[in-house]
Subunit: 199 residues, 2 copies
Amino acid sequence: MKIVIIGATGTIGSAVSSELEKKHEVIRVGYNDGDYRVDIASQELIQALFVKTGIVDAIVSTTGLANFGTLDSLSDADYELALNNKLMGQVNLVRLGRDYLNDSGSITLTSGITAWQPMQESLSVSMVNAGLEGFTRAAALGLDREIRINVVSPDFVRETAEAMGMGSIGVPATQTALAYAATVEGKMNGETVNARDYL
Amino acid sequence: MKIVIIGATGTIGSAVSSELEKKHEVIRVGYNDGDYRVDIASQELIQALFVKTGIVDAIVSTTGLANFGTLDSLSDADYELALNNKLMGQVNLVRLGRDYLNDSGSITLTSGITAWQPMQESLSVSMVNAGLEGFTRAAALGLDREIRINVVSPDFVRETAEAMGMGSIGVPATQTALAYAATVEGKMNGETVNARDYL
């Protein structure tokens, strides 16, 4: 398969790229580097990206910005970032990317554990993560040509936790990557795949 | 209790108002009429509303706009309506309204069955309904003064179905209203309450 990974230079995206490269041709897309670059907040740049990649068999998104903060500290701009970047940025990857997929291709988005295991500071993050899962369930009913869509819900990533001095909690990125491989190579559609199930 | 119901002139809101008026003082707020008027797309108008209502014991929202449409037919404006009105309109009721609640007060928002029972045409609706449920789970951890927040997920409303010539499917508004009474009068916090459980 020819697979484009958007967010390929991040902690999760790097691990997903390495995992999928074992069997497939991977196009790594980042914000600052990679084979190609994109800012998912821009529909024009998303469109330009797919013109460059051409037709692929799978689109994997491991990207999307949203800030943590409490009811007191989150600003309008914080909510807008979550909505315009992590949520609509990924929704627009679906709206624009589906035309660049082969029949029986797949799209995999990324939500996060805070959709279901919230924290006081995860307000806008929980909101858009759950929203991505709701969107995915509906989009799965409407994609044609046997194209599938799923969303991976990563747990806290162990490498990130260790880098932050929080100890060996969470799911290693290499294990998290197996959840993405499962959505790309499997038959599931409309599902939320929990990365911790691959621990 | 003194309860402000935003969306009180709609099919569900009217039934919720009638149910809660049996035991409580209800302030009915609508878009075009009611005791007071508000457009939840405007933070300024939300703020002005709560200045007028003063301190209350419960805020109930039965309002929020979002359009149905497919991946092909939904426009950027449709996604923006769902995000700015049904989702952020209700989130802003929480952000601004919590300062106008008595200790141990409550907030009840409205999502919808399509978060979990999607249709091809419910893309943006499923997205924001699920997003509201994710936001509510996180917000419940951060509200102080023992203030609670929940979200009711109405089924298709029987009166609406009958008016559309679809037959007697869905949950009657009078029954749907019992889900709202349960969140206002009960002890639950951070929960999604399915109106069909009250059928």
